[in-house]
């Protein structure tokens, strides 16, 4: 075998540590967002605001403040809940087709994992990005809702935390699903129709779940949106007790953890073959 002189070239690439690697992915998403933010504006910010206006101001003008609305104007009662509905919709939107595209259409996930970035770091970057988008859209919602007179106390800033947590709890399992489907994503339509829609209607957003028939109550407990809505209203209006708050947070964190665990498994399965 011929002897070869010392390398004439030395690669400049190096391995980046995990948190930084995930952050580099966030930078990559940001580069995309810089060019394309306007294309997501309607679904991410305008839609929840339209709901708030239509239900809160339109329908709400017919609703007298009562015990069911915590003696608040319906618009004010609705705002923290609509905030969390926005998180759910954003989470599912950002976690479904964009993730499937990374595997299937753009295939850029394969480009990324050919660099020192690992599938786990890729996933972490994706999740952090989704959290940032949800949080940013939430801030925009709070701002507009305040201008519309739907906010009466600064507690809604705390609701933003509940909102992001709910968003992530809903995002991670959908990311795992997106990393699993190989067809054109018909499964997502099912998620939107049979999960997001009913969840939005029956999680105490528009009316207290106590109005639902008895048998439906345990089903509501499964809804991350209900837990998020309870947290968000508790933050905005006060009067929270430790026990229920702990339960809601635990449920959402648990769902998030399960989703991440599944997503990690699916990412590896799909990218390392």
């Amino acid at each position: 075998m011929p002897q070869v002189s010392a390398p004439t070239t030395q690669a400049t690439g190096r391995v980046v540590r995990s948190p930084h690697a995930a952050w580099l992915r966030v930078e990559g998403h940001w580069q995309w967002y810089r060019r394309h933010w306007h294309s997501t504006l309607f679904s991410s910010i305008a839609q929840p605001i339209l709901f708030l206006v239509a239900m809160g101001m339109g329908f709400g003008s017919q609703v007298e403040p009562s015990e069911a609305t915590r003696n608040l104007p319906y618009l004010v009662y609705l705002a923290p809940a609509m905030l969390v509905v926005g998180a759910l919709q954003n989470a599912v939107g950002e976690s479904s087709y964009p993730v499937l595209s990374g595997f299937k259409w753009q295939k850029d996930y394969w480009a990324v994992t050919a660099t020192p970035i690992t599938p786990g770091q890729l996933l972490a970057g994706q999740q952090i990005w989704i959290a940032l988008v949800i949080g940013f859209n939430g801030c925009a919602f709070v701002l507009i809702a305040t201008l519309l007179g739907a906010v009466q106390s600064p507690g809604i800033l705390l609701s933003l935390l509940a909102m992001v947590l709910t968003g992530m709890a809903c995002s991670a399992p959908v990311v795992a699903l997106a990393a699993t489907v190989t067809n054109d994503g018909n499964a997502f339509n099912g998620i939107f129709r049979f999960v997001v829609m009913p969840m939005t209607l029956f999680s105490g957003t528009f009316f207290p779940v106590s109005q639902l028939p008895e048998w439906a109550q345990p089903v509501v407990w499964l809804s991350p949106l209900w837990h998020g809505t309870e947290l968000s209203r508790a933050a905005a209006f006060g009067g929270a007790e430790f026990g229920p708050v702990f339960g809601h947070v635990a449920y959402l964190v648990g769902l998030f953890a399960l989703g991440i665990w599944l997503a990690r498994w699916r990412f590896r399965r799909r990218l390392v073959v």
């Binding site: 390398p7 004439t8 394309h36 050919a114 020192p116």
Partner: protein, 313 residues
Amino acid sequence: MTTVGDGVLVQANGLVKRFGEFTAVGGIDVAVRKGEAFGFLGPNGAGKSSTMRMVACVSPRTEGELSVLGMDPDRDGPRIRARLGVVPQLDNLDTELTVRQNLQVYGRYFGLSRATVRAKATELMEFAQLSERADDEVEPLSGGMKRRLTIARSLVNDPELLLLDEPTTGLDPQARHLLWDKLYRLKQQGVTLIITTHFMDEAEQLCDRLVVMDHSRIVAEGAPSALIKQYSTREVLELRFNPGEQQDALDNGVADLVERIEVLPDRLLLYTENGESTLETAHAKGIRPLSSLVRRSTLEDVFLRLTGRSLVD
């Protein structure tokens, strides 16, 4: 273990890749030396891409030994990938970003600073002749431009080892020659190249050494010229006949003129040291082809000899 000393960048022994029951790579032995251009030549499905993906540390091997840059892909994947350049068979650019963004974002994954990737992107766009499209989105670019961008992107970390999986498939002849020229320049700079292709002319042009793969195995190995010398004759006489008359020529004993003959559906290939004189003898025997052509042997003939099939169907 470091292999830089003995100059071997990639060493595979009994390398196997299975997908379930299916064997894509059936135990191959390969050693790629520093500074050379090494080729995997073979038809579709031979296992070239599967091999490349194992070397690129994105696909774990099923069996066998593999060392890349002196490290084990199973253990040191990210560290190896930091020093590799990879051009996958199918472009996987971010088509919603600009040309420049693609290069910069990708460069950052290799731990390069913002200033470095900025300068590098400008340099690489120059290299790939894409400077004028720098701030255009990738989506509407032509196939050739996308391919050039993918290749430029693979160079963002100044790789020591560049893996090119069918770099010119889908390019027009002019673009192919342009690319060969670029690859040649990289080689001059000391970059080690591994290229897969099913174009024999590409393999002959670019590769110092190559292996011929078929059905998941290596069937021959050597320098292009050596392979031709070993498995083929100096010249090939190609004879074409009117439909139906090819069999007459065979009945007439055309095969006896040479040591070896290949019968293709549309022509006969006669392997000979001297094509012209073989043609004369054929004429003397009363064989009247529609047309005849004398040419040098190529890797295509080597492949035909080894497998009984053409490389590209």
